[in-house]
């Protein structure tokens, strides 16, 4: 009797194991990936969404792109005056009526402007959505940027002041008090639109997705049941290189760098992120990556922390809660908030200094 029992035990266990090993991954692997990309907001946006029904995924992703396009149209500042795109843009409407009168705009524009004003206060002027006239003077919005004459820059800088941007939430109006003032939502709109896309995906039942909006990353859920998404941070000086890998779950990773749009003159690099307090490009950092849940907030913060001195940024981020930052400073130091420890894998190599004991 004992003999017989023993003889069946091994094959039986084996059979159970075989079923478990084959069936479990098959069941878990039933989720499919729907992937697509689209050119919008002057960049490329790609969305990967996961679920069991391809048709539903496709509809959700298409709706998410539609929402981003809608925000893009409302916040575009460069269509030709008189064109249909110009008429569709709330930002053009506000800029056109600077110094004249408040104008009624869409709720989303009010949201974005309130967000921008909040971070203008928090960053003590290191971030300002009324930077438009100075951006135009440097020519970063065109193809031939150059250093402006100092007197002209000083004069133009007087037009940059978020305190003169008046929002009436109740009436849903916005007003730039001085003629010549101009909004530029370049540091907010992409992040805000990404967050709106996330809302659309979630409302349509997507529980796992990755949005890459012109290299600003936002993830929904985890990559798999027990693994977070792995996001690389670009090496600011090596083409195709990665300086660190961070783990991300339900959140965004947004980077501001000095290498994307810049020009060189007299051996100096002039990048497109202007310090609103001086009118000149910020130069304390090569790149700043912000990780926080909301992509719109991350977009504003990456600009603020790019402009501020690194030590000040670490201090400010540390106080915020739920905000992690990763900095590559102009003097080639790698710094990050202590909260990132264990979630970041730094590949500093010989080009950068990284003191792990921080």
């Amino acid at each position: 009797m004992m003999e017989k029992k023993g003889r069946y035990l091994l094959p039986l266990l084996l059979a159970i194991l075989v079923v478990a090993v084959v069936a479990v991954p098959l069941y878990l692997g039933k989720e499919i990936e729907y992937k697509s990309d689209r050119f919008l907001m002057d960049t490329m946006v790609s969305i990967k969404a996961y679920g069991r029904d391809e048709g539903k995924l496709k509809d959700a992703v298409t709706a998410a792109y539609g929402e981003m396009q809608r925000i893009a149209d409302l916040s575009d500042r460069f269509p030709a005056p008189g064109s249909a795109e110009y008429k569709a843009s709330d930002v053009c409407l506000i800029n056109e009526n600077a110094g004249i009168m408040p104008v009624r705009v869409h709720r989303e524009i009010i949201d974005m402007l309130l967000l921008a004003k909040k971070y203008h206060g928090l960053g003590k002027g290191a971030f300002d959505v009324t930077i438009g006239p100075v951006m135009d003077l440097w020519g970063f919005t065109g193809n031939n940027p150059k250093i402006p004459p100092p007197e002209k820059l000083a004069k133009t800088l007087t037009l940059v002041d978020s305190n003169k941007l008046i929002i009436n939430e109740e009436r849903q109006t916005a007003f730039l008090e001085k003629r010549g003032m101009k909004l530029d939502l370049g540091a907010v709109a992409k992040g805000y639109a990404t967050e709106k896309a996330v809302q659309v995906l979630k409302s349509r039942g997507v529980a796992r997705a990755l949005i890459d909006a012109g290299d600003n990353i936002r993830v929904i859920g985890k990559k798999s049941r027990n693994a977070p998404w792995k996001i690389g941070i670009k090496d600011p000086r090596k083409s195709g290189g990665i300086i660190a890998i961070v783990s991300l779950t339900d959140g965004s990773a947004v980077t501001s760098g000095d290498y994307y749009r810049y020009f060189e003159s007299g051996g100096r690099r002039y990048n497109h992120i202007i310090d609103p307090r001086t009118g000149y490009p910020a130069s304390a950092n090569m790149s700043v990556t912000v990780m926080t849940e909301n992509a719109g907030v991350a977009d504003c913060l990456s600009t603020i922390f790019f402009v501020l001195e690194p030590e000040k940024s670490l201090e400010l981020a540390g106080k915020m809660g739920g905000v992690d930052i990763f900095l590559v400073t102009a003097d080639r130091r790698i710094l990050h908030t202590p909260s990132l420890k264990g979630r970041v894998e730094v590949k500093s190599g010989e080009d950068y200094r990284y003191d792990q004991g921080r």
Partner: protein, 127 residues
């Protein structure tokens, strides 16, 4: 069959099943089988070319028609770059060669995307 034989057979069977069930394990066991480097080229929302990068025979060029006119791509063994483009900013050209799976060249004015397919070490890169 001795008892030892049975354990051996069971062991081999298990490894085989694992390898079949987990594609990732499979590719780490047999890396050569999955490393056929391939670049996908999209223009204005459509895939226009797929290029095999595993051909060791010299360089070749190909022309893609984007939104701002023709752009010239150059292909070598394992890598690809935008050689010439009509776009005003030339960011795509300045980027140089790409060679790792997951890497991409994006020309925004031309609405051209070149991406090297395959398992990338990260899910995305923030820049």
């Amino acid at each position: 069959m001795t008892r030892g034989d049975k354990y051996l057979a069971a062991g081999i069977l298990l490894v085989a099943i694992f390898a079949l069930a987990f594609p990732r394990l499979q590719s780490s066991l047999f890396p050569m089988a999955t490393s056929s480097a391939r670049a996908v080229i999209k223009a204005r929302g459509k895939i226009v070319r797929e290029v095999d990068l595993s051909d060791r025979g010299g360089r070749s060029t190909l022309v893609v028609n984007g939104r701002v006119g023709p752009s010239t791509l150059e292909v070598e063994w394992k890598r690809i770059r935008m050689k010439e483009a009509n776009c005003p900013d030339k960011i795509c050209v300045k980027q140089g060669w790409i060679e790792k799976p997951g890497d991409s060249i994006v020309c925004i004015p031309g609405e051209i995307l070149v991406r090297i397919e395959g398992a990338a070490p990260v899910d995305a890169v923030t820049r």
